[in-house]
């Protein structure tokens, strides 16, 4: 091939590439882009109405691109890699947000927070843990959830359980009663692993306490510690007694919720989003289902509640940071938008101005439970860095498959977690 021909070939190869590269997306000052994982039919419709409300107030159009929950986890980071993040995106408060901040992808919002007086809007329990990272504000809470023992009321009453078990002994006695009644006490659908994490979260929080758990989550404590062993042994004794459904790893969280709804099982440890699911299939809150808080295990351990916070963040390279800040402020502080959103998602609002009349009886009880707690802790996969969370989530599924291996499982988990923390 002669030189001229080679040049021609190169030019021909490169031309379309260059052409694509020069097609920088256009951008208007009265437009904010947002990506989120609220892809449910109701969620999308509700969010659209809320965003329309924002447009009416501010004149800013919000361009919305939803991605399914699981795909979002990878999708948003691929966009971060390509420096193509939307102005605003939804993200889970906690270790995942910290991870994105460490990569320099988020923009602090302290100025907006102070100017909008959000200290007086966002409940302190949520604001303290979910919005501040390395001393700066980065996130506003759009909604949050609480995880508790949701149960089928008729099944519980039939077994003669009318009072919420307060202590571990009372809880085990209730399970025994249910079993004697021919009902599996606890449904768990750990096919996608995460539903099992709430058991670990509560057992470790109720025995070793929130401070120890925080150490385990940041790598200064070990999965080989006696504290972890004790929590896992409690869990194991429950599986051994047949309190959990068979084949938990074959079910999704909705399968497990269905089992409780049908009365095949009595209860399931799940987040408040289960109320959204149950309401949508026709169950009545407070009549058909209710919940009680995870019982006390070791007396004297500070009372903690567990749940995730759905946050909204602004990317470091946002094209319209002012518009993005206005949007965040609106979404967290407008009581109507917040109330509407909480209702649709079966979520709680972190906005203290949302009237309690917006909630059903079960959600009100959840709010009271959170108010009474000393600590709000994020669930496992939002508390520990993602590489470690992967290790732990697999550990829970493996434990549910064969709890007799618990010692080996913990040793291997510690080895893998230590190397993941070292990354």
């Amino acid at each position: 091939m002669n030189k001229r021909r080679r040049q021609l070939l190169l030019a021909a190869v490169l031309a379309p590439v260059m052409a694509t590269a020069s097609m920088v997306p256009s951008f208007a000052a009265d437009e904010v882009t947002i990506s989120h994982y609220f892809t449910g039919e109701l969620g999308q419709k509700g969010l659209k109405e809320i965003l329309d409300g924002f447009k009416a107030k501010s004149g800013i159009t919000v361009k919305d691109s939803p991605i399914g929950h699981e795909d979002f986890k990878t999708g948003i980071l691929v966009r971060a890699a390509g420096n193509a993040l939307p102005d605003v995106f939804s993200y889970w408060a906690g270790a995942r947000t910290q991870f994105v901040i460490d990569a320099g992808d988020l923009r602090p919002i302290d100025g907006m927070w102070d100017k909008a007086g959000l200290d007086n809007v966002v409940a302190k329990s949520v604001a303290d843990g979910a919005t501040k990272y390395d001393g700066k504000r980065y996130l506003v809470p759009f909604g949050y959830h609480y995880s508790g023992l949701f149960f089928n009321k008729a099944v519980m009453e039939k077994a003669g359980i009318t009072e919420a078990p307060k202590t571990w002994e009372e809880f085990l006695a209730a399970c025994e009663k249910l079993k004697a009644n021919g009902v599996t006490p606890i449904a768990l659908g750990s096919k996608n692993r995460w539903p099992a994490q709430f058991w670990f979260d509560y057992l470790i929080l109720r025995t070793a306490g929130p401070d120890y758990r925080a150490k385990l989550m940041n790598g200064t404590a070990s999965y080989a510690d006696p504290e972890v062993k004790k929590a896992m042994d409690l869990w194991k004794s429950m599986v051994d007694k047949g309190y959990f459904v068979e084949n938990a790893n074959a079910d999704s969280w909705t399968d497990a919720s269905d089992k409780v709804a049908r009365g095949d099982a009595a209860m399931t440890l799940m987040g408040t989003w289960i109320t959204g699911y149950w309401n949508s299939i026709g169950l009545k809150p407070g009549e058909d289902y209710d919940f009680y808080p995870f019982p006390e295990v070791t007396a004297g351990v500070p009372n903690a509640v567990v749940g995730p916070v759905d946050g909204l963040v602004i990317s470091a390279n946002a094209k319209n940071p002012e518009g993005a800040e206005q949007l965040l402020e609106y979404l967290v502080s407008d009581p109507e938008a917040q109330a509407k959103w909480a209702n649709i998602q079966g979520a709680l609002s972190a906005n203290v101005n949302v009237a309690k009349s917006n909630y059903n009886a079960v959600m009100l009880k959840a709010l009271d439970t959170i108010d009474a707690a000393q600590t709000f802790a994020f669930n496992y996969d939002l508390s520990t860095p993602p590489p470690v969370a992967e290790v732990g989530l697999s550990m829970f599924a493996r434990f549910m498959d064969d709890p007799s291996n618990v010692d080996t499982i913990l040793d291997e988990t510690q080895a893998s977690a230590a190397s993941a923390f070292a990354e």
Partner: protein
């Protein structure tokens, strides 16, 4: 070759070449590059770590089990569709009643996407009301709720069976085409000489089907290397990584643990394995061409 002819060749090649360069060559070279870094997949900052990622492969328990699973997958994925496809082709070719209908039925799964096939088999394997356990309960008259996809001992094999179910149709069609190429007079001679059916298959049909077998085996191996989608749908590598293949492990490390550097190192290994197999295939294909023309 005159100047304008060259111009048109280059111009027409430009689009496919640039697309190929952009979405195949560039990512390929990138993953070689990132395999030597500790990039997390989205940060602007990363360091070169030399061969650390490749060294880590040997101490990674999950990598080892994923490698073994990949070998198991390939071995079964070659044997099952090949043997089943050949048997079905021989049956249909022997003019059983309804042959053409069965041919269509067996070929149909090919038309489905792996996602659909995966979902259908998830229902078949469902422990409480799935087709498989319902049949077993009916036959044994006893309660049976084994969770095929949720048990580490059976998850991988259950997925391979589903995958083979889809792949068998393709093998069958290739074998059927091969069978039509076998000269009828040769088979007539067999009959006249009094050869049994088995002798006819073993000594005449099978050797003459060698070109078809090479294609079937090669396609099965290559398809099994990219057998990611059905696994992703059916188990996602679970329960607890017990059905991970190399491709799934690479995905988990890169996109769930955000260890893009390490994930790239795994993909380099996977690439080298695929390259070796494809080279072997082309060599074999050449040999077959030389013998059978």
């Amino acid at each position: 070759m005159n100047q304008s002819n060259t111009f048109w060749r280059v111009a027409l090649l430009a689009l496919p070449l640039s697309v190929f360069a952009l979405i195949i060559i560039w990512p390929l070279l990138s993953s070689f590059y990132y395999g030597f870094t500790n990039w997390n997949g989205f940060s602007d900052n990363y360091d070169f770590v030399g061969f650390e990622n490749f060294g880590k492969l040997f101490s990674d328990r999950l990598f080892m089990s994923a490698a073994i699973n990949t070998i198991i997958w390939m071995a079964i994925a070659v044997v099952l569709p090949t043997v089943l496809g050949l048997s079905l082709a021989l049956l249909i070719d022997s003019h059983v009643p309804g042959g053409p209908i069965f041919k269509t039925i067996f070929y149909l799964p090919i038309c489905l996407s792996a996602v659909v096939v995966g979902q259908v088999w998830v229902w078949i394997y469902q422990p409480d009301w799935g087709l498989l356990n319902t049949i077993i309960e009916y036959v044994t008259n006893d309660r049976f709720n084994y969770a095929w996809l949720a048990k580490p001992d059976s998850a991988l094999y259950s997925v391979i069976v589903a995958w083979s179910w889809q792949a068998t149709g393709l093998s069958m069609v290739i074998y059927l085409a091969g069978l039509t190429a076998i000269p009828g007079d040769l088979l007539e001679v067999c009959e006249l000489e009094g050869a049994t059916t088995w002798q006819r298959i073993r000594h005449v049909i099978l050797p003459l089907l060698t070109p078809a077998t090479v294609v079937v085996v090669a396609l099965s191996v290559i398809n099994s290397l990219k057998g990611f989608d059905i696994l992703y749908i059916m188990t996602g590598g679970g329960p607890f990584n017990s059905s991970d293949t190399l491709a799934m492990h690479m995905y988990n490390e890169s996109f769930k643990k955000y260890l893009m550097g390490y994930g790239s190192a795994i993909s380099v290994v996977l690439f080298l394995v695929a390259l070796t197999i494809i080279r072997l295939y082309f060599k074999q294909l050449k040999k077959v061409d030389e013998i059978y023309g």
